[in-house]
């Protein structure tokens, strides 16, 4: 073991910092300082800049456009970009559909799907959950029936993140309604959202955001060449994909950035003649969370250095702890707002309005509260924490 960064590591970190300084616009960073959700235009621009130097997919194998960086370099890259307030690259592209396609897709699919992802040109949304299939995902009912060279898709997806701004949706669909086990009749199908018969309806969330959607499929003809891997094998591919999602769901970089922001905000927040940062009770809560995030970060580093594929159990540990800490750090950030935690999140269509600069309180107030509200869902999505705990217990008890 060696806990120090090498000279090469430090040189790499400086290179990343130089890249950020040259490519991250102050306007985008300002929006992030406010904690508002990124727009597609912002993440597209950032992905293009990264792609220009071959950095848009650090976690992919080199042959598909990855960087070949060590686990430590990937970690440095994430910490630096998140810390600087860069928009994330589209997670559903890089962590979810991309790995599925380069692992299970045909050569033709790899050529068609991967380059536009790397360049930030085509956005995919994950269409898994349905109104009746949440934690019990295998009970999904959206049907895809083969008809000549096409599948005909009927059904509904829900909680489809960013479908309202995406170009395609990667779905789990039922191709064999007669299969002995529900898991056995499910396939992985790529669907272009511009196809006739698709309706995307944004869901207004309680924090004012609208990035989750319902997606309806009414006799949608999807070319059969969009099937990934073999028919009725989609569930097996997805188990691997969900475990990717859970490793990503530790979101350590985000936690570290958010804690740094809490410290900065608390240093500026006045409290009875002093500042919030010096308040004993607040400071104790902050320190405790810093220790918790350090423990999670080292758990992630252990998993990453153990190899490319985390065990299911490790993935569940990261999901549980990451989601809980995101909620706790968000709550602490809200504390730095004092009474301004009440300020409502502005509608995205009004984000360019000058009156936004005149809302009461610090300019990050509405974004911090919106994030706190949104993160209540972190212990629900990506496999609820109740499900994760059951999985961990089963893996320990061997049943």
């Amino acid at each position: 073991m060696d806990f120090r960064l090498s000279a090469e590591d430090i040189a790499f970190r400086d290179q990343v910092r130089g890249f950020i300084a040259a490519n991250l616009s102050p306007e985008v960073a300002r929006r992030f300082k406010r904690g508002w959700r990124w727009t597609r235009a912002e993440t597209e621009m950032w992905t293009r800049r990264l792609h220009a130097v071959g950095w848009s997919a650090p976690n992919w194998p080199v042959q598909y456009g990855g960087t070949g960086w060590s686990a430590v370099w990937k970690h440095i890259f994430e910490v630096e970009t998140w810390g600087a307030g860069a928009p994330p690259t589209h997670n559903q592209n890089f962590d979810l559909v991309g790995p599925i396609v380069f692992t299970f897709g045909s050569d033709a699919q790899k050529r068609r799907v991967l380059p536009p992802i790397l360049a930030g040109e085509y956005y995919w949304a994950q269409g898994f959950s349905e109104p009746g299939a949440g934690s019990d995902l295998a009970s999904l009912r959206t049907k895809a029936l083969r008809d000549g060279d096409d599948y005909i898709v009927n059904g509904q997806k829900i909680w489809t993140t960013d479908a309202n701004v995406c170009d395609g949706v990667f779905t789990l669909v039922r191709t064999d309604p007669q299969a002995a086990k529900p898991q056995a009749g499910i396939s992985f199908l790529l669907i272009d959202l511009k196809l006739p018969g698709i309706t995307v309806r944004p869901i207004r969330l309680y924090n004012g955001e609208t990035h989750l959607n319902e997606v309806f499929f009414d006799n949608v003809r999807v070319p059969a060449e969009n099937l990934v891997g073999e028919e009725n094998k989609g569930w097996g591919y997805t188990k691997i994909l969900l475990s990717h999602e859970r490793v990503a769901s530790a979101r350590v970089f985000e936690l570290k950035r958010d804690l740094a922001e809490v410290v900065a905000h608390a240093a500026e927040a006045p409290l009875r003649g002093g500042r919030l940062l010096d308040d004993r009770a607040f400071h104790d809560r902050l320190n405790r969370l810093q220790i918790e995030v350090a423990a999670l970060e080292y758990t992630v580093l252990r998993v990453l250095t153990e190899g490319p594929h985390a065990s299911g159990r490790a993935a569940s540990v990261l999901k549980i702890r990451g989601s809980e800490l995101l909620q706790q750090v968000a709550a602490l950030k809200v504390e730095t707002l004092g009474p301004y935690a009440e300020v409502e999140y502005p509608m995205p269509e009004g984000w360019d309005e000058p009156w936004l600069d005149m809302l009461p309180g610090p300019d990050y107030a509405s974004g911090a509260m919106a994030a706190y509200l949104q993160l209540r869902a972190a212990t629900i999505y990506g496999g609820s924490n109740e499900i994760q705990r059951t999985l961990i217990a089963r893996s320990v008890l061997g049943r």
Binding site: G134, L205, Y206, E335, P339, P360
Partner: protein, 370 residues
């Protein structure tokens, strides 16, 4: 000792409950869509029902109800998520009644009690951390009146109000003084916004606002003690609102566990979820108990003992609200965080009430100091 409601209190509770249920089912949305963010028609009904007058002493023209009447009403306001600015006006009116000179009471209270004028109390400041004794707003004597400097943070219902009661420290003596100022006089320094729970609030920036002697509310003594009592009354009212919200959220969650199916069965059959529901029941029970403890404390003659008991109620109620809010959304899954689902409205209301009651840190410290 008898912790049951009396026959009259039960009658009030039945009437409040049925109004709150009806409001939630069929009127709240329309109220929120009104230009001011609430309905003047509903406001008139609440005044007519006596919900405003019952909290004002008879000597001041109200009906002189008890603290129990107050929590019965505010539980209903919480349960029905009623957006009309009742508590804001109640607190301002109680302060006018308790601290106002006879002349100003006679001038201000009748229109308020008749429902024609809505008042708010602008006291808390951003740096106070929930501490009502921390004010930096000053009043400097000038030509027979005063000049005010300071900023009042997120004054609930201020944008739609007719009258604002402002607190300030007199330059020199540091004594607390109150001013009742017509809202339009504050327009230049008012920054309004919506709140997370669908209400309207504003920062009031007092940048050298000149107030006349006629705008002074109090007669020069006892304003601080009156204000402290009113703010404690407000905390218990908000705690009662929180309890009403919690009861509604618990009932809705229990029903959902019985109807939502996954893995072929109602999700309420899973022990992991049953235990969360059980914790919610415990939270509501303790919330109801500590609310009564807080009501008892309101009757204390000694302000320190009153403050200590009120803060105990707030701390425990926040603890309960945390459990209810967290579990209610978790057990509902994704639909729990949508604008459309009522659970999300209960969560937001609880989050705001926790804050408006002064938070845990301040109240815990005040309990310890009392």
């Amino acid at each position: 000792m008898d912790l049951n409601l009396s026959a009259e209190e039960k009658l009030l509770k039945d009437s409040v409950d049925s109004y709150a249920r009806e409001y939630l089912a069929s009127r709240r949305k329309a109220s929120m869509a009104e230009p001011m963010g609430f309905s003047l028609e509903v406001w008139a009904e609440l005044v007519e029902l006596g919900w405003l007058g019952v909290e004002i002493p008879e000597a001041a023209g109200g009906y002189g109800g008890s603290a129990v009447d107050s929590i019965v009403i505010h539980e209903g306001i919480g349960f029905g998520l009623i957006v009309e600015p009742l508590l804001s006006t109640v607190l301002a009116a109680r302060l006018i009644a308790a601290a106002g000179t006879a002349a100003r009471q006679g001038e201000l209270l009748p229109p308020i009690l008749a429902g024609g004028s809505r008042a708010v109390l602008a006291h808390y400041e951003a740096a106070a951390g929930g501490d009502p004794e921390f004010i930096e707003t000053t009043a400097q004597a000038s030509g027979g009146g005063w000049v005010l400097h300071g900023r009042k943070a997120m004054v609930l219902d201020a944008p739609s109000s007719d009258l604002v009661v402002l607190s300030a420290k007199l330059a020199g003596s540091g004594e607390l003084a109150l001013f009742a100022v017509a809202t339009p006089r504050l327009a230049a320094g008012m920054t309004a916004c919506g709140t997370i729970d669908g209400l309207r609030a504003a920062d009031l920036f007092l940048d050298g606002l000149a107030v006349s002697a006629a705008e002074r509310l109090d007669g020069g003594a006892g304003a601080g003690a009156a204000l402290a009592a009113v703010l404690d009354h407000g905390k218990i009212a908000m705690a009662a609102q929180a309890l009403g919200v919690m009861e509604a959220a618990l009932a809705m969650t229990a029903e959902y566990l019985g109807t939502r199916k996954q893995f072929g069965v109602a999700i309420g059959t899973f022990q992991a979820l049953q235990h969360k529901l059980a914790d919610m029941v415990v939270a509501v029970e303790l919330g109801r108990s500590i609310l009564l403890y807080g009501v008892a404390a309101l009757a204390e003659e000694d302000p320190d003992r009153r403050a200590r008991g009120v803060s105990a109620a707030v701390v425990r109620m926040i603890e309960s609200a945390e459990v209810i809010g967290t579990h209610a959304i978790q057990l509902h899954g994704g639909i729990g965080v949508t604008e459309e689902h009522m659970i999300s409205h209960y969560f937001r209301k609880l989050a705001m009430l926790k804050l408006r009651m002064g938070g845990t840190d301040f109240n815990l410290a005040r309990f310890g100091a009392g």
